[in-house]
């Protein structure tokens, strides 16, 4: 059980690190929001599932699942609201110069 939880947490940590690299490297708001959504949807999921495995069967697992469901409901809403505000404020998406 401990081994499974360590594997899950390390996989989640990998995706979190990739998302942080993406937030620093990518060129504009729209593509950075993709990196943040990568954090939310897979990194947080794997981390919290790993912690739930470590906890074993108890009522704490139910609470962790509740937090996970909350994250999955709220994060698309936040990302959509931010991107829509950026688009309506007049930002243009970055595009690669075709040469």
């Amino acid at each position: 059980m401990e081994f499974v939880s360590i594997v899950f947490i390390l996989a989640g940590l990998f995706f979190l690190i990739v998302a942080a690299i993406g937030v620093i490297r990518l060129p504009d708001v729209f593509s950075r929001s993709h990196a943040v959504s990568l954090t939310d949807s897979l990194g947080a999921f794997l981390m919290l599932v790993g912690i739930a495995f470590h906890e074993g069967l108890s009522k704490n697992v139910l609470k962790i699942i509740a937090v996970l469901a909350l994250l999955y409901i709220q994060n698309p809403v936040i990302a959509h609201a931010t991107v829509r505000a950026a688009l309506r404020a007049g930002l243009k998406p970055w595009q690669r110069e075709t040469s």
């Binding site: 360590i6 979190l16 937030v23 609201a81 505000a85 930002l91």
Partner: protein, 88 residues
């Protein structure tokens, strides 16, 4: 196992530093909002991990839930405000 969790906590705090760079540096204000959103997701994970370290997961998960709801309201309010105001 506690050592492993402490190691993961340290890595997560370093990642929060990466997002903080984006919050301080970001060219537009939407970059800053996005960075704050990423920091809050990390903070939720950090809270639950600290709960496992202190062996009080039930209490810390409640704090994480409250933090997530506050973050939702704050991000929606800021996005709504900036949408009407336009680029500063």
């Amino acid at each position: 196992m506690t050592t492993f969790f402490l190691f993961v906590l340290v890595v997560l705090v370093i990642l929060i530093g990466a997002y903080l760079y984006r919050v301080l540096q970001g060219p537009t204000i939407f970059d800053r909002v996005l960075g704050l959103n990423g920091i809050s997701t990390k903070a939720i994970i950090v809270l639950v991990l600290m709960g496992t370290v202190f062996e009080r997961v039930d209490m810390f998960v409640d704090i994480a839930t409250g933090y997530a709801l506050l973050n939702l309201m704050g991000a929606l309010a800021v996005a709504k405000y900036l949408e009407q105001k336009g680029l500063p």
